[in-house]
Amino acid sequence: MKSKNPPEEPAHEDNFLESSRRDFLKHSGLLTAIAFTPSPLVKAAKSGLDEKIADLYEKVPVSLEVNGVKHQLSIEPRVTLLDLLREQLELTGTKKGCDHGQCGACTVHVDGHRVNSCLTLGVLVSGKKITTIEGLAKGDQLHPMQEAFIKHDGFQCGYCTPGQIMSAVACIREGHANSEHEIREYMSGNICRCGAYPNIVNAIQEVKEGGQPV
């Protein structure tokens, strides 16, 4: 497929990148209002003011609800939901295993559906409800899937576990946990290198058969 606006030649790119920030600031109306001469502009850059101004232009307002808590945020459009959770909201229960949607460690629920948060931009979930592993238990009372994972030893190192559990809950909700075979198919997007697969299947089956609401 041809791009409508072909990218600039790499040779130009270098120049563009070297000067882009300053040029951007120089041409910015807001900056003109703040800084009337080029000299304060340099000072502004040194004092980090350019960062603040850039923030205004380069960031996008986002409002989302994570585990029942509403957040009004201003984020760069390239920030993934995964990095937003881990690096900005300090919700590190959601794990980074590949950053390419190939391992499932970053699985969260967006409006009740499981998604790979590493393949989801933060700006695309504005207005949506996110549930992470930290939001699954009700206070001290663990979710039945969390209890079952402990009972059946559905993990070893524990790193893929939050993603497995979020996927497992969704797997039952989707109606894809009706047999061992079906569970295996619908849980194959979550890699466990320690090899807890049989135990995970057993945990999911027990929750499914237990009939508790998930």
């Binding site: 270098d14 990148l17 070297e18 920030r21 960062e51 850039a54 380069e58 760069e76 390239r78 990095d83 881990r86 690096e87 919700l91 590190t92 229960g93 959601t94 794990k95 980074k96 295993g97 590949c98 950053d99 390419h100 190939q102 391992c103 992470t132 592993i133 930290e134 238990a137 663990l142 994972f149 402990i150 030893d153 993990f155 070893q156 190192c157 524990g158 790193y159 893929c160 576990t161 939050p162 559990i165 061992e180 569970i183 295996r184 198919e185 849980m187 194959s188 997007g189 979550n190 890699i191 466990c192 290198r193 320690c194 090899g195 807890a196 697969y197 049989p198 135990n199 995970i200 299947v201």
Partner: protein, 706 residues
Amino acid sequence: MESKIKVKDPELGPSRVDGRLKVTGAAKYSAEYSVKGVTYGVLVGSTIAKGTITSLDTRAAERAPGVLAVITYQNCPEIPGYHTPDQPAKGPLKIFLDNKIYFNGQPIALVVAETFERALFAGSLVKAQFNKDDHQTDLKNNLQNGIAKGKDYVRGQEDAYKTAPVKVEQEYLLPTEVHNPMELHAIIARWDADNKLTIWDKTQGVKSTQRNIANAFKIPTENVQVNAPFVGGAFGAALRTWPHEIAAVAAAKLVKRPVKLVLSRADMFTSVGYRPLTWQKIGIGATSDGKLVGITHEATGQTSVYEDFTEGVVNISQLMYASPNVNTKYKVVSLNVNTPTPMRGPGEATGAWALESALDELSYALNIDPIELRLRNHADTDPLSGKPYSSKFLKEAYQLGADRIGWSERRQQPGTLVKDGRLVGYGMGAGMFGAYRSNATVTARLQADGILVLQTAVTDIGPGTGTAMAAIGAEVMGVPVEKVKIFLGDSSLPPSPTQGGSQVTSTVGAAVFDACTELKTKFKALDGGANSNDYVKLLNANKLPQLEVTTVSKGGAEMGNYAAYSWSVHFIQVLVNPVTGVVKVNKSVSVADAGHIVSPKTAASQIKGGAIMGIGMALMEEALIDHRYGRLINNNFGDYHVPVQADIPQVEALFVNKPDPYLNPMGAKGMGEIATIGVAPAVVNAIYNATGKRIRELPVTPDKLI
């Protein structure tokens, strides 16, 4: 001998002590600590496999928004440990030392920025030009350049198999396998003063990391605080202190801010080792009634040009069976690749793939059942040292596994058992690994609130070390396991070994046993010798807030009289689609002779996990290099396949569960390695039994069967 630790119900046993933290997302791994003022690092790798950097333009990256520094060989703060007079000719990669390139992907720059996104983008702006030399990355084309490592081993007569009435002589190839733990290697480095440092690091050994970082930066060891309370898997990949860890510490020095460096999944393929591509040749011969005459085992593995990596690939042929004549040779070839590192069952897993395949081939040549062939060559004493075994229940393991898998259903004639259009095959493979015990120190403290605290520096990378410690401590002290609190993965705690080599339960478990025994004796003295378990009452009566001991524990001299090994046998049933060549592992039964099992639930999981890793080794794992560029072409989970749910059946783990009388008070032997050693040949042998096709180059992908 009885174990001094009893296990109540092997089916149940205690659940993981850290289970709640792991299922709620509260367990914090190395990249997850909130460190004030933290900055983010991203590595940039070489795009050639051999040569020199002729120019490195970092200006665009440095001017990109939020970038604090771009660290290269031109501006990296001096790492004093790289310049001491005693530098060996070969050794670990010295990151950012000079402009030399040894492998594709070698880090040439570390970009540090205010956010991860900014560092990642700026990394794409680093422009390097190279003077490219001809590289060599293909082991198969360089076998003639192998350098012998270790002494050639000869027992009896060399190449005696050649004169045997029935013999097999074949070559076996194992591709490069990458550990790929789910947690990416990560470090947060913070300088607290000019000569004082705190790191949160993915490592299997906080003490060894502490020493290595202190040596690199020439600061006092005790000034390096290493934290690794949770490690998201490692399998050997975090045994060493890697160049990226040194780079992050150096970067934190340069930018005068804490630096967080999380490797990408692609970085994981070139930065933290792998199980090396290894060529092997086995000659094995027997009398017509199946008594081994001789085994000849040669192996050549790949290593880097800057460092020699060796492992015990051929050892298993010296040790496993009672063959009067054995000779082995081991070589390595230096290539333009990064250095390998031990991966679960290092050496032995590679060697067992060839030996157990060759033995299976021999069993068909003799028309003897593979289990029967092994029984006829069972070693009753250690063939290498002549010493008696401290314990060996391998025959019992064969029986347990054969019964469980339904071995009696197996047909000796390959390709004759068909079910629902699929070819059915059964295979088995055995494994062994040294059973060790080294030194460890444990602090045991009983508090007035009734909590038993156990502390030691060891890490728990997933096997359940903390859970086993709690089980042992609870048993010795006679307190419920829920009352035990474990602290580990912290360099300031009493010393214990690196998590690896299947020695931790034996070593640290024994130290917990010894410390708790000493603590109990102290309470007994308080009690006037009555030996009550009501410690809280005793503390209160004596107005004591707690009672604590710190105990150094090591094995006795009598261990030297015995050869100590853990043993395993793996049984596999496969279903092969004769049209598509797709192999489905339908049943997998692993039996471990790992002594007395102190933590049954976590032990079973460890054995199952090892079997699954072995299934991956047999059927899918293979890191591939495009030799034109010397570059990996499948450095991600989409292209480097590891087993997923749909690949794996209800894998079973069984234990002989008989104590070793000498190794430690629990009678426990290690099991981390034997869980994987022997699995891959069991799968391949099952495929032969199903199809009559003998595959000698892993992985067995469908194209090799049609």
